[in-house]
C-alpha cells in the first residue's frame, strides 16, 4: 500500500486487479478528521498488517472497507466495485468481506453451530444440512470440533474468537478483515488465534489485520503499514519495516512497542 505522500496515480481503480484500492479516502467524525486522504492498494493474497497508536485511524480505515463506517470523500474499491457508491448492493458486498472483531460479537442466544450456519442460510440460501456440514468442517479447521452444541458464553475468549473466524469463513469470503483480533484475549490464548490466522495466510487468503502483535506481523505480513494521525506514515515489507524504518515517527513507535 502506497502512502498518501508518494501515492502512485491510480489510472482507473475500477479496472485494476487489486483486491482493495483506497482512493484519497477522507473521513471525519464531527470536527475531527480521522482519515486524511488515504490512497493505496492491497493485492489478492496479500496480508497487510496495519499498526499505529490508538486514534490513528486504523480501525476506521478497516471499517470503511465493508462500509460499516461511511466516508466523506474519495472511494474504496473491492475487486473493482465502488464500496461507497450508493448503487452498490452493500449486503452482497459484505457477504464477501468478512470482519472479525476485537470483542468477537458472537450471537450469544445461538449455539456455536447456529452462529456459523445462520448467515450462509439466510444470505446465500444454503440448505441447513449443507451449512452444518461446512460448519463442522470449519470447527475442525479452527481446532474446536467438539464445541458445536454449546453457547458462546461457555467458551473461553480464544475459543470464541476462533468460532468468530469460522463464522466468517462459512461465507467463503474473498477478503478477511481483522480488527485487533487478539487484543481482548488473555495472553496464553493469543497464539491459538494467531495460529488460525497464520493458517489462512498460508492458504492465500487476502487479509487486512489491525494488530499490535509485531512478532506476528514480522512472520506473516506481506506488508506492514504504520498509521498515525489519519495518514499512512510508512509502509514496507516487514523485513525492511522492522530493520530499516525510514520515518522518525515510525522509529519512535517501534522503539516503544518492541523494547518491553
Amino acid at each position: 500500500m502506497a502512502t498518501s505522500a508518494d501515492a502512485k496515480p491510480i489510472a482507473s481503480p475500477a479496472t485494476t486487479d487489486a483486491a482493495i484500492v483506497f482512493d484519497a479516502v477522507h473521513k471525519r467524525f464531527g470536527r475531527l478528521e480521522v482519515l486524511k486522504g488515504i490512497s493505496g492498494s492491497v493485492a489478492p493474497g496479500d496480508v497487510v498488517v496495519i499498526c499505529g497508536p490508538s486514534g490513528s485511524g486504523k480501525s476506521t480505515l478497516l471499517r470503511c472497507i465493508n462500509r460499516l463506517d461511511t466516508i466523506d470523500s474519495g472511494q474504496v474499491y473491492v475487486y473493482g466495485q465502488a464500496v461507497h457508491d450508493p448503487k452498490t448492493n452493500v449486503n452482497q458486498l459484505r457477504a464477501q468481506i468478512i470482519m472479525v472483531f476485537q470483542q468477537f460479537h458472537l450471537f450469544p442466544h445461538l449455539t456455536v453451530l447456529d452462529n456459523i450456519t445462520l448467515a450462509p442460510q439466510k444470505v446465500k440460501g444454503v440448505s441447513r444440512g449443507e451449512a452444518e456440514k461446512t460448519a463442522h468442517a470449519l470447527l475442525e479447521r479452527v481446532g474446536i470440533p467438539d464445541k458445536a452444541g454449546v453457547y458462546p458464553g461457555q467458551l473461553s475468549g480464544g475459543q470464541q474468537q476462533r468460532v468468530a473466524i469460522a463464522r466468517g469463513l462459512a461465507m467463503s469470503p474473498r477478503i478477511m478483515l481483522f480488527d485487533e483480533p487478539t487484543s481482548a484475549l488473555d495472553p496464553e490464548m493469543i497464539n491459538e488465534v494467531l495460529d488460525v490466522i497464520r493458517g489462512l495466510a498460508r492458504d492465500g487468503m487476502t487479509m487486512v489485520v489491525v494488530t499490535h502483535e509485531m512478532g506476528f506481523a514480522r512472520e506473516v505480513a506481506s506488508r506492514v503499514m504504520f498509521m498515525d494521525g489519519g495518514v499512512v506514515v510508512e509502509e514496507a515489507p516487514p523485513a525492511d519495516f522492522f530493520a530499516r524504518p525510514q520515518q522518525e515517527r515510525t522509529r519512535q513507535f517501534l522503539s516503544k512497542i518492541l523494547t518491553h
Partner: protein, 232 residues
C-alpha cells in the same frame, strides 16, 4: 353487613348467609370472567404485534418512519385509556365506524398497551450491544434480517420482565370495558350488585378472580425469563 339486601328491603327476616349472592349467580359471573380472559388475550396479541412493529419503526435509520413510531407512542400513552375506549365506542360512529362494544374495547386496550410495549421492546433493542447488529450486517445480512435473527431475540428476552408487568396491567385494565357495557367480569358483577347489594361479597370475589389469573401470570413470566435467557 349493614346494606339492605333485596330480602331485607322486602322486610322478610334475616339477610341471606354470606356467599349466597355469588353462588346464586356463579354462571353469570363466570361468563363475565370468560369475556375478560378473551378480551385480555386478544388485546395482548394486538399490543405485542403493535409493540414489535413500532419498536422497529422507532429503531430504523429512516427519519419519517421513526417519526411515525414516536407519534404513535406519544399520542397513545399520554391520553387515558378510558378516553380512548369512549373514543372508539362513542367517537368513531361519528365518522361512520360503528363497532360492537367488545371490539371497541379490544381495539382501545390493544392500541393503548401497544404504546407501552413499543417502549419496552425499544429499550430491549437499545440494550443489545451495537456490535451484534454490526456483526450481522458484516456477514451480509440486511437490516431486517439482523433485527429478526440477531437483535430481536435478544431484545425480547431482555424485555420479558417489563412485558410481564404490562400484561398484568392489561389484564386488570380490561375492567374499563365495563364502562361501555361489555359483559365482562366487572360489568356482570355490577349488575348482580345492583340487584342484591351484596357489595362486600361480590367485589371481594371479583378481586379474587383477577388475582387467580394475575398471580400465575407473574410466575409464568419468571419461567419464560429463565427459559429465554438460558444461554447466559
Amino acid at each position: 353487613m349493614l346494606q339492605a339486601t333485596p330480602t331485607a328491603l322486602a322486610g322478610g327476616g334475616a339477610p341471606p348467609p354470606f356467599g349466597t349472592a355469588v353462588l346464586a349467580n356463579l354462571p353469570f359471573l363466570l361468563s363475565g370472567m370468560l369475556a375478560t380472559v378473551q378480551l385480555a388475550l386478544l388485546a395482548l396479541v394486538l399490543a405485542l404485534a403493535l409493540g414489535v412493529v413500532f419498536a422497529i419503526l422507532r429503531s430504523v435509520p429512516v427519519r419519517p418512519l421513526r417519526f411515525v413510531g414516536t407519534a404513535y407512542v406519544e399520542f397513545v400513552r399520554n391520553t387515558p385509556l378510558l378516553v380512548q375506549t369512549f373514543f372508539a365506542y362513542f367517537g368513531l360512529p361519528t365518522v361512520g365506524v360503528r363497532l360492537p362494544a367488545f371490539t371497541a374495547a379490544f381495539l382501545a386496550l390493544g392500541v393503548y398497551t401497544g404504546a407501552f410495549v413499543t417502549e419496552a421492546i425499544r429499550s430491549g433493542i437499545l440494550a443489545v450491544d451495537r456490535g451484534q447488529s454490526e456483526a450481522a450486517r458484516s456477514l451480509g445480512m440486511s437490516f431486517g434480517q439482523g433485527m429478526r435473527y440477531v437483535v430481536l431475540p435478544q431484545a425480547i428476552a431482555a424485555t420479558v420482565p417489563p412485558l410481564g408487568n404490562l400484561s398484568i396491567a392489561l389484564f386488570k385494565n380490561t375492567s374499563l370495558a365495563s364502562s361501555i357495557a361489555v359483559a365482562e367480569l366487572l360489568y356482570n358483577a355490577q349488575i348482580i350488585n345492583s340487584r342484591t347489594f351484596a357489595t362486600y361479597e361480590i367485589y371481594g370475589f371479583v378481586g379474587l378472580c383477577y388475582l387467580v389469573f394475575t398471580l400465575p401470570m407473574g410466575a409464568l413470566v419468571g419461567l419464560l425469563e429463565r427459559r429465554l435467557t438460558r444461554y447466559r
